[in-house]
């Protein structure tokens, strides 16, 4: 076989391999490209793994984030937290190598999330997946992609109580049950004897709504779901104003709540009841879109970060320097999701899902020496410390992942005063 022949066959097999890889990619299943066992097996079309032969190893983990759709405001905050975390981690190193994140958008939908996770888990074969924002989306990913594999999933932002039922689905923010209980105790404290509850028709809305109803002493006079992404919620608002509830409780997302608050203003019913909300109705965009003063007096319970902690302060100043604004809790959770992943890689014996799962909780648990930054925690591990010798306390709080994969968290109450959010205290999660 002469030079010339080999080369022409090679080119053909390269094209074949590329085409079949493309087909496999489209079908979204794992399985390698079928072997085209023809003549040119000298230096043929198989691409070599570029990362393995270079001096330091690159550990690639996956991340599913809501870059578009109803939850994009959260997704974008996550991106900033992730960026800072990656820089902090890679300036120190992970197991003698570097951390890289392969990312996919879930479009804030379960379907988008599942196909994003499939790409990462089945095709790119990441052993650890950070994902995602929406609680329903996170559980959909867990149930249809992650369960029954040894991949570790850490949700950066999901707060639904439902996630507690999946012990292997870890998360950074405190569970929504605590939030729902906090809202109901606020209602009781403020002397509201009846409440109208509007919840978004998905996992998050339903489970937080149910937890609220369970915890609330007063009468629930309206209890209705609404769909995500509708152009109008005036029927919901009209129905709520048709009741004589003392308090209106909104368990929904920012764009939906923005529309509702505008419609309530248009209907002239903003002062009819006291307004309360969960974590995902609070945001600068909501205030921006609401008519001046229309939200005054509204209270929202939001998973919080330890404002006074030194490592959080450092995170804030780094964040402000880069992006020119204060971070939200959500950026802090995303930051910690990435750092915890990196610590698990550092602590694990090998870069596989099962090895990571063994250690990922331990590096956050209170047993062991407290470390408030990646650098400190990394040092303990690099000096021969075992996973349980480290207690990573993140910028978002103590973390301390329990057997259900839930962290210990803080909740903060915000009240709208003069069209701005003002903190009015903390509640233990």
């Amino acid at each position: 076989m002469n030079e010339h022949d080999t080369r022409s066959i090679d080119r053909r097999s390269v094209i074949k391999a590329a085409a079949s890889a493309g087909l496999v990619g489209l079908a979204g299943c794992s399985g390698g490209a079928p072997d085209e066992g023809d003549g040119g097996d000298g230096g043929d079309g198989e691409s070599t793994d570029s990362s393995t032969d270079s001096g330091s190893e690159t550990y690639t983990i996956g991340m599913v984030d809501s870059l578009s759709g109803s939850l994009s405001a959260f997704g974008q905050r996550n991106q900033r937290g992730k960026e800072i975390a990656l820089d902090d981690i890679n300036s120190v190193g992970v197991s003698g190598g570097e951390l890289a994140i392969s990312q996919q958008d879930d479009q804030s939908t379960s379907q988008g999330g599942v196909s994003a996770a499939q790409t990462l888990v089945n095709q790119e074969e990441v052993p650890l997946l950070i994902g995602t924002v929406g609680s329903g989306v996170s559980t959909a990913i867990h149930e249809s992609v992650v369960q029954n594999t040894d991949v570790v999933q850490i949700s950066q932002n999901s707060t639904s109580p439902n996630l507690t039922n999946f012990p292997d689905l870890l998360r950074m923010p405190p569970a929504g049950k605590a939030q729902a209980e906090a809202i109901s105790s606020l209602l009781n404290e403020d002397g509201n004897e009846s409440a109208a509850l509007a919840w978004i028709n998905n996992d998050y809305g339903q489970s937080v709504g149910e937890a609220f109803i369970e915890a609330y002493d007063g009468e629930i006079v309206y209890n209705e779901p609404h769909d995500q992404g509708q152009s109008s919620y005036s029927s919901t608002i009209s129905s709520m104003s048709d009741t004589d509830a003392d308090a209106w409780v909104f368990i929904t997302y920012q764009p939906e709540f923005a529309t509702m608050s505008q419609e309530a203003f248009d209907l002239g019913v903003t002062d009819q009841a006291a307004w309360y909300g969960g974590d995902s109705v609070k945001g600068p965009k909501v205030l921006e879109s609401a008519p001046e003063g229309s939200l005054d007096g509204m209270k929202a319970v939001v998973p919080s970060v330890p404002q006074d902690a030194e490592n959080y302060q450092a995170f804030v100043s780094e964040f402000q320097e880069r992006f020119g604004e204060e971070p939200t809790s959500w950026s802090a959770y995303a930051y910690d999701a990435v750092v915890v992943s990196a610590l698990a890689i550092e602590a694990a014996d090998e870069f596989t899902g099962s090895a990571l799962m063994e250690v990922v909780r331990d590096v956050t648990r209170p047993e062991g020496e407290e470390a408030t930054s990646y650098e400190d925690a990394h040092e303990i591990l690099a000096n021969g410390g075992s996973p349980s010798d480290v207690d990573y306390t993140g910028v978002s709080g103590p973390i301390d992942l329990d057997e259900n994969g839930d962290p210990v968290g803080l909740l903060q109450v915000f009240e709208v005063v003069d069209h701005a959010y003002e903190s009015s205290g903390f509640i233990e999660g």
Partner: protein
Amino acid sequence: MAQILQYLANGLVFSSIIILGSIGLSLVYSIADFANFAHGDTMTLGAYGAFVAFGVFGGLGGTVLGLPIGFFLSLAVGMALAAVVAVLTHILVYKPLDTDSIGLLITSIGVAFVYRAVLQATFGTDFLQYDISRSGPIPVLLDTLDVAVTQRDVAIIVSAAVLVAGLHLLLQRTTLGRKMRATADNPDLARVSGIRTDRVILVMWVVGSALAAAGGVFLALYSQLDPRIGFNILLVVFAAVILGGIGSVYGAMLGGLLIGMLHELTPLLSDVGLPVSNAYAPAVAFVIMVAVLLVRPRGIAGDMT
């Protein structure tokens, strides 16, 4: 009673937006002969066009119907932008494609993704607002009828009515309108009668997308602007078009009115004891659409053009 009036008022505003969207969709179907899935994103495109223009013209003094003059200028810019983009898409994509209506349908889904991607890449995915302050309900109506309607609602309804009336005059009273109706009825016959159907199709794209853009602008004015608003409302618009009789402009108007009303009147069901939550308003609208189609398979106005 006041509650029913309130639902009807809400429905009228929502219907106005749906009607503007459904006319264009129906026009494209009747003349270009395919279901244009990029129509929703054309609405979004117009809304963003107006958003950018409003940054320039927003300061212009004077108000009409409680909205600044600059807003109506921006509306025109948004409509023009959507028309230009739709015509370019037609010339560059749909026209050269030698495929059937299913092929065009799938292509239009791709076009929709491209429009949305461009908007997302340019403006981000956060929601935005036209910088026009809200005024709250009109006191007179609130006092006399106990119905809350804002000036903005009135502006949306009136503007939609003006645009629809304009289209009606165009179709019925002008030569161009007669050519459009002829082309929609039977393109081959229209062509042998000496009508330059290519031009008529271009005009149809201009009219349809401009109206869609107006719908998008009002939708964004009514709630807020994000890259998915048009796509999120597209199925409802389709329902309106099919209910009215696909391909019929007047049917689309009627269908839009009905679907919009049904959507907003859903809470009445629970008032009369049927436990149907507002979250299922679109489902209710679709059930009624199917019921109507069982009786009139070609839609309410399926025989008119």
